[in-house]
Amino acid sequence: MVQMTMAKALGAGLRAAMRDDPRVLLLGEDIGTLGGVFRVTDGLLGEFGAARVIDTPLAESGIVGAAVGLAFRGYRPVVEIQFDGFIYPAFDQIVSQVAKLHYRTRGSVRMPLTIRVPWGGGIGAAEHHSESPEAYFVHTAGLRVVAVSNPADAFVMLRQAIASDDPVVFFEPKRLYQGKGEVELDRPLADARPMGLATVVRAGRDVTLVAYGAMVRTALDAATAADDEGVSLEVIDLRSLSPLDHATVDASVRRTGRLVVVHEAPREAGLAAEVITGVAERCFDALRSAPVRITGHDLPYPPAKTEQHFLPDLDRILDGVDRALGRPNSMTGMAP
């Protein structure tokens, strides 16, 4: 066990994957000499050379499209999209090619791409640098989508994503990059929790609180705060956004009967709707109160000086918990 930041854990994950498999290579903007704008790939150019750590021209569709061609040739490309908001120029290649090629070719062509996305807000960044586009990819069949919330998962799940024969869109919360945690560098990948499973990160009785990415920490903080008031929250870190680990969520809701789902992304047709609907479909009778969403608003991400009013925080989550528990809350008395 070593303590390291998530950025370093991701770098270590890349290094391990590249050492294990010569077909793994990296493509992206500024990932070579600079080591990436978040320094995740720092040192990798030196160790693996320019043939495997590829600074590309400034063109995201080009990066993903070239990675598709490399996958045709048997490589396992790991693409870095510099910031969440710059994934959209590559959207066509991701949705029409990466996601569909295996299906289109009846399994002849595999697309073991990993698309790393520094992701989300809370870092005081400029416009287009705080996007949460995960729902677009969850809605796209043929992709797997994961989101990490701590250095240990970052290290393991990145290697799992790279080892996956399917394309994985890999979301890395930017505001956790410098947060530290324990990482087991030597544990065999085979022993790790499968990438597709959620984790109950805190057991509780009264309300199930589902989160992912940076919101997991906020949810845990909320759980601690709720504890002081005698409310016991069970916090689930989804980890895999597609497929969703229904079993873990359902089991929790069947016990608590109440559900709050948290994410940074805007609410409308976001992932919380999927989690809630799945629960409503499968555990309707277990639900004791209306499920609650605590999410970003349905706005373009606002200027950073106001982002705290966009992002769910501890207080907003606790307000949602109150709602789920039928206790007085900010919406008490509002027309539905």
Binding site: P22, L25, A51, R52, I54, T56, P57, A59, S61, G62, V64, G65, A66, A67, V68, G69, L70, A71, F72, R73, G74, Y75, P77, P89, D92, Q93, S96, Q97, K100, L101, H102, Y103, R104, T105, R106, G107, S108, V109, R110, P112, A141, G142, R144, S164, D165, D166, G196, S242, P243, L244, D245, H246
Partner: protein
């Protein structure tokens, strides 16, 4: 008299290199002659046969569609010269990324006749395993495949380096695309990447004058070949209805790619004789005379005349080829008429390479749903 390089008074062909005139006469082409100096009559006859087969496949495709047996067909008629000419320059271990119209490329690379059916009958999104014939599945998203070709070429380079440090790639990939596609951002980015990494890829732009109803002048005010220089990519503009010059230009570009010279670009000036697809009605946007003028530049007639002028195609040989074409067409029809539709639950196959709880769940739900039907649909 036209100079050898100058193909015709038609501005569409301005500056295009040519070896075979429409009447089959061989003109010298100093720029490219050396690339076909070794071509034997036997090789030309093989090209001719593939062109005839391609056309028969194409016509049968149209016929089958008209008869309701295929959902759609994208006719390649008139473009056999560039397709077979360039494909014959490829080696087994090269890899071509094609659009929906490159039937000739797939055929020349060994696609089975049945492979032309399932996709157009909408039974499958594609049929062959691309690694069997070194041809990608036909791409419908305009231009997207050009980036795949570049990435593949980057893989070729990296394979060589892995085999031996400093080693050079000895294979190439090809990106086939149309004049309309030249406007897409992806095609630009493909050229940027290819140039930046000196990737062993050849861009073949089949400029057939039209993108559905849009004339090439809407995409480009200048010959598309001029784009290549902007990236520092060596380029040739050739008469795409002359299979020999297409072979030559492709050999030149492939040789360069295979010897570390980086990408190449070929604009093959040709014409789409048929409709865009069987859903299209070209009489709405182009005059019959234009089509007629291009029919007179037919690539098959041209190669045939050339072979005959050399005494290399006897009547007997010609009728053998025709008979071969008939067999291909018959095989295609038979394959089409005997093709069934896959079982309903097969739509859940191959979404992912590895087990996926979501798809598995949906498959089970749909299985249960179907099993409720009395008529017992086969699962």
């Amino acid at each position: 008299m036209l100079s050898p390089q100058q193909t015709t008074a038609d501005p569409a062909l301005a500056g295009a290199l040519r070896m075979l005139a429409p009447d089959g006469t061989r003109h010298p082409c100093p720029e490219l002659d050396r690339w076909v100096a070794d071509v034997t009559p036997e090789q030309l006859r093989l090209m001719h046969r593939d062109m005839v087969a391609t056309r028969r496949i194409d016509r049968e495709g149209v016929a089958l569609q008209r008869q309701g047996e295929l959902g759609l067909w994208a006719p390649a008629e008139g473009q056999e010269g560039v397709q077979i000419g360039t494909a014959h320059a490829l080696r087994r271990d090269d890899f071509a990324f094609v659009s929906y119209r490159e039937h000739g490329v797939a055929y020349a690379r060994g696609a089975r006749i049945v492979d032309f059916i399932s996709i157009w009958r909408a039974e499958e999104h594609s049929s062959y395993n691309p690694f069997d014939i070194g041809v990608s599945n036909p791409q419908i998203i305009i231009g997207a495949q050009t980036l795949h070709a570049v990435g593949y070429a980057m893989g070729i380079q990296r394979d060589a380096l892995r085999a031996a440090p400093g080693a050079r790639a000895d294979q190439a990939s090809v990106a086939y695309f149309g004049d309309g596609a030249s406007s897409q951002g992806d095609v630009h980015e493909a050229m940027v990447f290819a140039a930046s990494f000196a990737a062993p890829v050849v861009f073949v732009c089949s400029n057939n004058q039209w993108a559905i109803s849009e004339p090439v002048a809407l995409q480009s005010r200048t010959p598309i070949v001029q784009r290549a220089a902007g990236y520092g990519i060596p380029a040739r503009r050739v008469d795409g209805n002359d299979p020999l010059v297409c072979l030559a230009a492709m050999r030149e570009a492939l040789h360069r790619a295979r010897t570390g010279g980086g990408p190449g670009f070929i604009e093959a000036v040709t014409y789409r004789i048929g409709p865009h697809t069987t859903s299209d009605d070209p009489t709405r946007y182009r005059p019959a005379e234009e089509v007629d003028a291009w029919r007179r530049r037919d690539p098959i007639t041209r190669l045939e005349a050339h072979l005959r002028s050399m005494g290399e195609l006897s009547d007997a040989q010609a009728s053998d080829v025709a008979a071969f074409g008939d067999r291909v067409a018959a095989e295609m029809r038979a394959a089409c008429l005997s093709m069934g539709t896959k079982a309903p639950l097969a739509i859940f196959d191959d979404v992912y390479a590895q087990p996926h709880s979501g798809v598995e769940r949906e498959r089970e739900e749909y299985r249960a749903y179907l099993s409720g039907f009395e008529d017992g649909e086969v699962l």
